[in-house]
């Protein structure tokens, strides 16, 4: 007896093929919010890249002090809404009179680079070490887990102060920030990944894979990673804004991207003090950070859902 003899009606067969053939990409594209998130991220990255061209339109740059006419005697912007106008689309920075639009736009370069870069370092290191601890177990696990303890328990603040003074001055600061945040921040990711891997390793499909003689690398790539995806996506999406803020903290320890290079984190932390007197100062950079975070989270959610075949067609 052959397969065709009792095959389902022809219409069902071809539909079956299509049902299976639906790719992650097509599922992702069905989520309008997620696509919107991608668009926002792309637009922002392009805008950040093209910042000099864009600020050329209103003839501003994020460095020059322009207090004449823009600031009152108390250093606060003159005019409504923190000095919003035709030349200063987002108003001006109090105390300096710099154009906020330019500051925010150029700031995107630093912040997105640091936010994404540092998060990637964190997640890659944390993910690999956490998974390795779970996969190999025994001494490997014990040593890696204790190393994680050290990294988490270590007084990173002092370390950063020391580093700020010891990093060679020529060392690219952006890279330094990415490394500092990444290398000191992977502890929690490692712990979470380890715990999830321990749990996944008990699942039958991992056992099945082991039964086929799969080595650790294969297990990680084929079996664990697809099931860790949602965790890693959440970690990534939440760490990006946290690391953008962290960059600001670092710049105060001398490890960050030095002024006058604009960065959202620094602008926001400066603006916090002005919340009562010039709330507009805070608004633009905070909204930008919110937008990027929101976009990354939308993309993350969309990706998570798209990667979960059991949710397919849910909407």
């Amino acid at each position: 007896m052959s397969a065709s003899e009792y095959a389902p009606p022809p219409s069902a067969t071809s539909a079956a093929v299509r049902a299976g053939g639906e790719t992650v990409v097509s599922r992702f594209c069905r989520d309008r919010w997620a696509v919107a998130g991608v668009v926002v991220v792309v637009v922002l990255v392009v805008a950040a890249f093209a910042a000099p061209l864009i600020t050329a339109i209103n003839g501003q740059n994020p460095y020059s002090y322009a207090y004449r006419g823009a600031l009152g005697d108390d250093g606060a912007p003159v005019g409504a809404l923190g000095g919003v106008g035709l030349t200063h689309w987002f108003g001006v920075e109090p105390l300096t009179g710099r154009d906020l639009f330019a500051v925010v736009l150029y700031g995107a370069r630093t912040s997105i680079l640091v936010g994404v870069g540092a998060t990637v370092v964190e997640v890659v290191i944390g993910g690999l070490l956490g998974a390795a601890a779970a996969l190999f177990g025994g001494w490997t696990d014990r040593i890696l887990s204790r190393v994680t303890d050290v990294v988490v328990g270590f007084p990173s603040l002092i370390f950063m102060i020391a580093l700020g003074a010891f990093a060679p001055e020529g060392f690219p600061k952006g890279l330094l920030v990415v490394l500092v945040i990444g290398l000191l921040g992977w502890g929690s990711t490692a712990r979470i990944v380890r715990s999830q891997c321990l749990s996944l390793m008990q699942r039958n499909f991992v056992t099945a894979s082991r039964a086929m003689g799969a080595g650790p690398a294969h297990l990680l790539r084929e079996q664990l990673l697809p099931n860790l995806a949602s965790t890693l996506i959440v970690i990534t999406a939440t760490h990006i804004p946290i690391n953008i803020g962290y960059e600001a903290a670092l710049s105060f320890l001398g490890v960050g991207v030095p002024p006058p290079t604009p960065a959202w984190g620094r602008t926001i932390s400066n603006a916090v003090a002005w919340i009562a007197t010039d709330p507009w100062y805070l608004l633009a950079p905070a909204a930008a950070l919110f937008l990027v975070t929101f976009a990354f989270n939308l993309v993350g959610d969309g990706l998570r859902d798209a990667l979960d075949p059991r949710l397919a067609g849910g909407e």
Partner: protein, 337 residues
Amino acid sequence: MTLLRGRTVRYVARRLASTLVVLLVIATLSFVIFQLLPSDVSQASCGKPCTAQRRAEVRQFLGYDHSVLVQLWDFVRGVVVGRSYGEGGARVDCSAPCFGYSFRLSDTVASLIGQRFPITASIAVGGALVWLFAGVVGGVVAALRRGTALDRAALASTVVGVSAPTYLVGLAGIYLLGFKLDVLPVGNYVPFTASPGQWAYHLVLPWLVIAFTEAAIYTRFTRSQLLETMSEDYVRTARAKGLRERRVVVRHGLRNALLPVVTLFGLDLGVLLGGAVITEKIFSMQGLGALLVDSINNLDLPVVLGITLFSAVLIVLANLVVDIAYAVLDPRITESA
């Protein structure tokens, strides 16, 4: 059965022993880094005007003229047998276990931590409970309403949570609830023993501030994990039994989704118990975090080291508890002993 319990005890004992190694590594690193620090430790306590000679005297007196290894050895010996500082009429004894003495604060490090820890612990534990509850509930709601406006609203608010700096949230909270509406007191820690009611009342605002950011992260975690588990077959079984949806979600979906959340919680709580720097600062509550920052700014190595080691112990213990919790949460997991 006793045999197995013996194994568990041995496992815990071994973990605690390895904690000592972790602590020693952290202590060594701290000494080394202090050595590498660009600023001179004696600067802060040299006085004004300062001379090179005075500085040398201070360094010598504080023991920083020795090599890292000697300092480490002195420290470890102090922990085991106690030590004393200074000489003659100004001699200060620090009996074992001596974790150091702060001349800036005229007190042993152990006693300082003892005074400050209740404050930090009050902030941390209360805040942790608030965010755990808010985060998990938020995550559950978002997951169950996946893709709806409610889900997106939860997303938006969590994004505000993760992207708003604690400093901003804290000040906003103070202005709004403390000054504008005048419903909650701002700062001023009241010990639990003095008045539990006042204690909680004064801590509500710090708890909310701490919880604001963290709850956001927990919401996202819970949501994503719950989405994974809710499509498992056993959830269908639970429904077929005729359980209330709430019970299905909590006992079957959530229970299986909690592993990474618990890991994160253990870690966060452990770290937070070592000091909630910004929150303590904003609310003028002098916990370990505030003490740590002050001590770093004043290069008060004994205190920095003490707090660092103390919080490392907390983190390691929290991790141990989490590892034990894994076994409870997922009975399939065994620890390699």
